[in-house]
């Protein structure tokens, strides 16, 4: 355990922070909501896998195949512990996007009589703050099956309006797919009432944890959810690897989406039987080095301690919000108090398009996201063309926030008059 939470010490583990940015500035990386940076420990784990243990997992009797399988299944165990799940419930995918799509297609492949089989009149519930990745797969599933897609609204403060929970999640509801934390607003969705209502009507809850799992401790048993998706690359890990977690009894009663090698129990020329989860959903040789890198990232976070990570980000968000609310002609889009709120701050500046804001910030070494953040319906609802978004992680500190605020003032000067 590191004695104190020190972003300056943490940054030493990340080679990218020695890069010189535009204008000769240091990197102030405030775009972890899009993807996080990677510590040396993760890069080394991937390299070590390729240099020492590379072979196709679960095939072959040779030493490397054994080592590769042990490394890959070890990575699954790390993820299992991280989520307080069971090891056969953790499916490796290539991304959270793939996880949600695979789940939606698996549900769509269900035979009549299955609890997952959808028909006209059934209902899928989402929310207005969903990322496109947790919206479009459900739009398409609804279209394919004739099910109805309905959603929770967002209020002007960026919170979900749950006043019509019982009406929205009704007896026809089969799936409630919801984000844990808005990637645009930072809003953390209160799950307790949603989950108990969904279960009361026999629906399953699918949680998009992309913006939550990297930032605070997740316990799938305590949350009492049914499925969860998140990706490594937003959690200090590599691209190309994510997970789909689901309750064992559900995964083992579902039809797979991707089929091929590894996912079978037996095959004849005309038929195949599926292996149990997780293999059932892992057709083909998986992204092994990336799974190992994913585990290294989770180990890195575990060493920091997820509660320490959460506290650090919460404190930094409080500091940043206070500074933002003092700025003239700058509006924070999303909750202005730091309650049930993650470390994402979206904002607009009067008279300056987000793209231009991002360009000026870039001149000062500040990397932010601009635009609609893959949440176009939310932007339309809020009447915005886009926002500028700063998102914080373990390597950010108050000095980064200060550079951000100073750069915003520079942008206002640049575009004045």
């Amino acid at each position: 355990m590191k004695p104190m939470f020190s972003p300056a010490e943490i940054r030493k583990d990340f080679p990218i922070f020695s890069k010189v940015m535009r204008g000769g500035n240091r990197l102030v990386y405030l775009d972890s909501g899009a993807t996080s940076q990677k510590p040396r420990q993760v890069l080394d784990a991937e390299r070590n896998f390729y240099e020492q243990s590379n072979a196709a997992v679960h095939r072959g009797a040779h030493l490397l195949a054994e080592e590769a399988s042990i490394a890959y299944e070890g990575a699954r165990q790390v993820l299992t512990n991280f989520l307080n799940a069971e090891v056969d419930e953790v499916v490796f995918t290539k991304s959270a996007t793939e996880s949600i799509n695979a789940l939606a297609y698996s549900i769509g492949n269900s035979e009549n009589g299955s609890r997952f089989a959808l028909k006209a009149g059934d209902r899928i519930v989402v929310s207005e703050i969903e990322h496109h990745a947790n919206l479009i797969p459900w739009q398409l599933l609804a279209k394919r099956t004739g099910a109805e897609l309905v959603w929770f609204s967002v209020d002007p403060d960026g919170r979900l309006d749950l006043s019509n929970l019982e009406e929205l999640v009704n007896a026809s509801t089969k799936i409630v797919a919801i984000t844990h934390q808005s990637n645009v607003l930072g809003t953390i969705v209160p799950l307790k009432d949603i989950v108990s209502r969904a279960h009361a009507v026999g629906a399953v809850v699918v949680l998009d944890a992309c913006q939550s799992a990297p930032h605070f401790a997740i316990d799938v048993k305590a949350l009492d959810i049914d499925f969860l998706a998140f990706s490594a690359h937003k959690a200090l890990g590599p691209t190309g690897i994510g997970i789909l977690w689901g309750r064992r009894e559900f995964l083992n009663s579902m039809e797979p989406f991707l089929t091929g090698g590894s996912m079978i129990e037996s095959v004849t020329m005309t038929e195949a039987k599926w292996a149990p989860s997780p293999k059932r959903f892992e057709a083909g040789v998986p992204n092994m080095a990336q799974a190992v890198g994913f585990a290294a990232a989770i180990n890195y976070l575990n060493e920091l301690g997820m509660d320490n990570v959460a506290k650090h980000e919460h404190d930094l968000t409080s500091y940043a919000l206070k500074k933002f609310l003092q700025l003239d002609k700058v509006e924070v889009i999303g909750p202005k108090n730091n309650v049930d709120r993650g470390s994402v701050i979206s904002f607009t500046i009067d008279g300056i398009h987000p793209h231009d804001v991002g360009q000026v910030l870039d001149q000062y070494g500040v990397a932010v996201r601009t635009g609609h953040h893959c949440a176009w319906p939310l932007m339309r609802k809020l009447g915005l063309v886009g926002t500028t978004r700063a998102s914080f992680y373990v390597y950010n500190d108050e000095a980064d926030v200060d550079v951000l605020i100073d750069s915003i003032l520079e942008a206002q000067k640049y575009f004045k008059g």
Partner: protein
């Protein structure tokens, strides 16, 4: 500062006082173009008669680069014959894909050369091209009608 090569005074002027930013009530073609990566949108009307572009008008939301660039394009195209106009679009496209190696021909592109610096910022090239591509699309549709 590097930023000044992107945000030339001419661009900021067009951004603050855009030309032809009011849709004409009639048109020979109308197009709606979107930049899906940033959400910028534009509606553009052209009137082309006897092979001459008689008006280019537009409405839309977007960053300073896309707004200024559309303003410049609309002004430049008005009064040109269609072939000439499409050649100018091509010349501007070449400038945008030059990665900062071309200054642009002022005799052809007029205020458009102020956008030469955009070619050094790959993320902004699509912003600069939005209005020009909309015009090209509209001009081709109009000539088919």
């Amino acid at each position: 500062m590097e930023l000044d090569s992107l945000y030339q005074e001419v661009i900021l002027d067009h951004y603050k006082h855009p030309l032809n930013k009011k849709l004409s009530p009639t048109f020979t073609a109308q197009v709606h173009h979107v930049n899906p990566s940033c959400g910028d949108e534009i509606t553009l009307n052209v009137n082309i008669s006897d092979g001459i572009v008689t008006s280019v008008t537009w409405e839309g939301v977007g960053c300073s680069i896309s707004q200024a660039s559309t303003s410049i394009a609309s002004d430049l195209m008005t009064g040109k014959n269609l072939d000439e106009a499409l050649k100018i679009v091509e010349s501007f496209s070449d400038l945008m894909s030059s990665k900062g190696t071309m200054a642009g021909d002022e005799d052809i592109l007029e205020d458009g050369v102020a956008l030469a610096g955009v070619s050094k910022f790959p993320a902004r090239i699509k912003c600069a091209l939005l209005g020009w591509m909309a015009f090209k699309d509209a001009a081709i549709q109009s000539s088919k009608n």
